[in-house]
């Protein structure tokens, strides 16, 4: 397995201090990302889902070093940033690029589209004229006619067109991994489908690897090969997309999937799967962070934190499907857990 791992994250943690009072002392901590580890394999699309405040966007920002991690390592093909034999941040960012949700605020309003795309390559040593040529060819690749669009400004473009420009800009450095943070959430449905088609085409053509972050479970199911589910800064479940959607093991994943509105008029009016809102990531509950909303919670859930463990259910012989729930851990003390001997 380790041979095809492109990007690996180990024990990554990021807390944000909250300051208050007269002296701006630290009064609380948001545990945005708390000790998560996962691997992104070469050529796959890893989908990250979760509700607001679960740490998925912080994870994205940590992945491309927009934020410094408090602890943990991120390695690209086994090389970490800053190590003696490792990568410089600049070299890392050339290989790992990002597309943001808000297509407008992520473009410089005073730069033409062509210059926006060409800027990155010039920083990395390409001449302006060569970079502009590359920008024009990328515009063609993302479906915008360079003759029409190269000299326009962001405000002259629609949301879908701007998101295409953002994708072209991410591609300009010929990266190997693109982190997409809610890339289609701000777009209308008809435009969303166009952009998803474009992302699939580009991935096949250029052999890219995607980390695709979204709150939209339908979109994640459509585009991902593997899915990672986050809740309050922790990974609760990770596995192949069909296994996660077809046989979810963690109660939170089940609740999340159960809350998707069905598109079938005869199958509506189902019961809400959870009550209440997600707790605040400031002072998350002890033990399993989901136990306050979980229907199966028992004593052990509020005291000990469950580790990610292999799915002991049927239909998943590869052991690729992991979930962090005491009900799946032998000898955890939960009444539904498998026997310790097994």
């Amino acid at each position: 397995m380790s041979a095809d791992v492109l990007l690996e994250v180990y024990a990554l943690r990021r807390y944000f201090p909250i300051r208050g009072g007269l002296l701006q002392r630290q009064v609380a901590t948001v545990q945005a990302v708390d000790d998560i580890s996962f691997a992104v394999r070469r050529g796959e699309t890893l989908g990250i889902v979760g509700e607001s405040g679960c740490g998925k966007s912080t994870t994205a920002r940590l992945l491309i070093h927009l934020l410094e991690a408090d602890a943990g390592t991120i390695t690209l093909e086994g090389r970490a940033i800053g190590d003696a034999s490792g990568l410089t941040a600049r070299e890392f960012r050339r290989q790992v690029q990002m597309v943001f949700q808000d297509s407008y605020s992520s473009l410089n309003p005073r730069c033409t589209i062509e210059d926006t795309i060409a800027y990155g390559p010039t920083v990395h040593g390409l001449s302006w004229s060569a970079a502009r040529t590359r920008a024009r060819s990328l515009l063609g690749k993302v479906g915008l006619d360079p003759e029409l669009f190269a000299t326009r400004y962001p405000h002259e473009l629609s949301g879908g067109q701007r998101q295409r420009v953002n994708i072209a800009r991410a591609l300009a450095l010929e990266p190997r991994v693109i982190v997409l943070d809610e890339p289609v959430s701000a777009l209308d449905k008809s435009v969303e489908a166009q952009v998803l088609n474009l992302l699939v085409d580009l991935k096949n053509e250029l052999g890219l690897t995607y980390v695709f972050i979204s709150h939209d479970l339908n979109v994640v199911q459509y585009i991902s090969d593997r899915v990672l589910v986050m809740y309050l800064g922790k990974i609760v479940e990770v596995g192949p997309v069909d296994s996660i959607y077809g046989n979810p093991r963690h109660p939170y994943t089940r609740a999340l999937l159960g809350a998707m509105p069905s598109m079938d008029p005869d199958n509506r009016g189902k019961q809400a799967t959870l009550t209440g809102d997600p707790p605040n990531p400031i002072n998350p509950p002890p033990g399993c962070r989901f136990h306050t909303r979980c229907a199966h919670a028992e004593m052990c859930c509020s005291t000990r934190e469950p580790k990610l463990a292999a799915n002991t259910g049927t239909g998943n012989p590869t052991g690729d499907h992991l979930a962090a729930c005491h009900m799946l851990i032998p000898g955890s003390g939960h009444s539904a857990a498998p026997a310790a001997a097994a």
Binding site: D188, Q221, A259
Partner: protein, 337 residues
């Protein structure tokens, strides 16, 4: 205000007589010095008492403007509204300011996408509900407080007595939306206008709010006009769906018929481009191009520039074709069954 005195059961029993809401050929134009935007271009519909009509459309389709016109919330000096809107035989467009104030929050109430911006941040939730109840139903302070408490219980806010004294910022998003529903329902409106009330919420909270609205709508026998861009939400909540594009209804009908057998090419494209798991590995049938510019509408069918079936005859505005007594399609290809 007689609305509060009507027993719950009566409102639902009036069904079948005549529609509660009638909108006839509504047009809304925004006029500024440099351009005119045709936001709504001839919309007609009715809503029966106790019925949920969902307006489904993308951004810029005119769905929210239609909703705001129902309550005259659009800035009068920039807006030109024509057509007819009646709610319970009352002509909304000719109401004066005092009558309009009686109507808003009384007979017709509205909930919005972002409850944080629709509550006043400097008053408690309880204060805002009490003020509304006193204004419309003339209750005393203590009776109004009692009513506010009942309302918070009705929308299932935990420990409601304590929550009455909360300011909006002290509540979570889902809780605020529940409080806004309580405020909207405080005077037993006969018509509830809902403008994307679940769009800003997380998936697990969205379904709770939809179920709550659905239950309250049935219990109180309210008519609901629900605006959304999300097909899944529309299917979950509505009795009838109206699909809107460029300020016109392009297709209306019962929810099953519209979702199962969409007739208008735009509805077909919208449903085909709404991603679901079954489409994995397949190419999405996206609608080409981008949504229409309302400041420069094409003279004929507004969808024609993006439509794969477009033909020269689409250059004149297509008429409403009723293919069944309950189903309208605004396309020249539609034929009555």
């Amino acid at each position: 205000m007689s609305v509060a005195t009507i027993p719950k059961e009566c409102t639902a029993a009036n069904e079948g007589a005549k529609p509660l809401v009638r909108v006839n050929n509504l047009t809304v134009r925004f006029i500024t010095r440099d351009r005119t935007i045709d936001a709504v271009n001839g919309v007609s519909f009715t809503v029966d008492a106790g019925e949920v009509l969902c307006i489904l459309g993308e951004s810029g389709s005119g769905k929210s403007v239609t909703l705001r016109a129902m309550m005259r919330l659009l800035p009068p000096h920039l807006t030109k509204i024509s057509g007819e809107i009646t709610v319970d035989d009352e002509d909304i467009l000719s109401l004066g300011a005092p009558a309009l104030s009686d109507l808003r929050g009384g007979e017709v109430a509205m909930i919005f996408q972002e409850p944080m911006t629709s509550f006043d941040p400097v008053f408690t939730i309880g204060n805002q509900i009490i003020e509304t109840v006193k204004r419309h139903d003339g209750l005393s302070e203590s009776d109004a407080r009692k009513r506010a408490l009942e309302l918070l219980e009705m929308v299932q806010i935990p420990s409601p007595a304590r929550r009455l004294d909360n300011y909006p910022h002290e509540m979570s998003g889902g809780m605020r939306q529940r409080a806004m529903i309580a405020l909207a329902l405080s005077c037993r409106p006969r018509l509830l206008l809902a403008d994307e009330p679940t769009t800003a919420l997380d998936a697990t909270v969205q379904i709770q709010i939809l179920q709550l609205l659905h239950r309250l709508q049935r219990e109180l026998g309210m008519a609901v006009l629900f605006v959304t861009h999300d097909v899944g939400v529309a299917v979950e909540i509505s009795d009838r769906i109206a699909v809107m594009y460029a300020g016109r209804f392009v297709e209306t009908g019962p929810v099953r018929a519209v979702i199962r057998e969409p007739q208008h090419p735009y509805t077909q494209g919208l449903l085909a481009s709404t991603v679901n798991g079954a489409m994995r590995g397949k190419r999405l049938e996206a609608i080409p191009g981008s949504p229409v510019n309302l400041a420069a509408l094409p003279p004929g069918c507004a969808f024609a520039p993006r439509c794969r079936h477009a033909e020269p005859a689409c250059a004149v505005p297509p008429p409403e074709t009723w293919i069944e007594p309950t189903r309208m399609v605004r396309c020249i290809r539609a034929t009555p069954k």
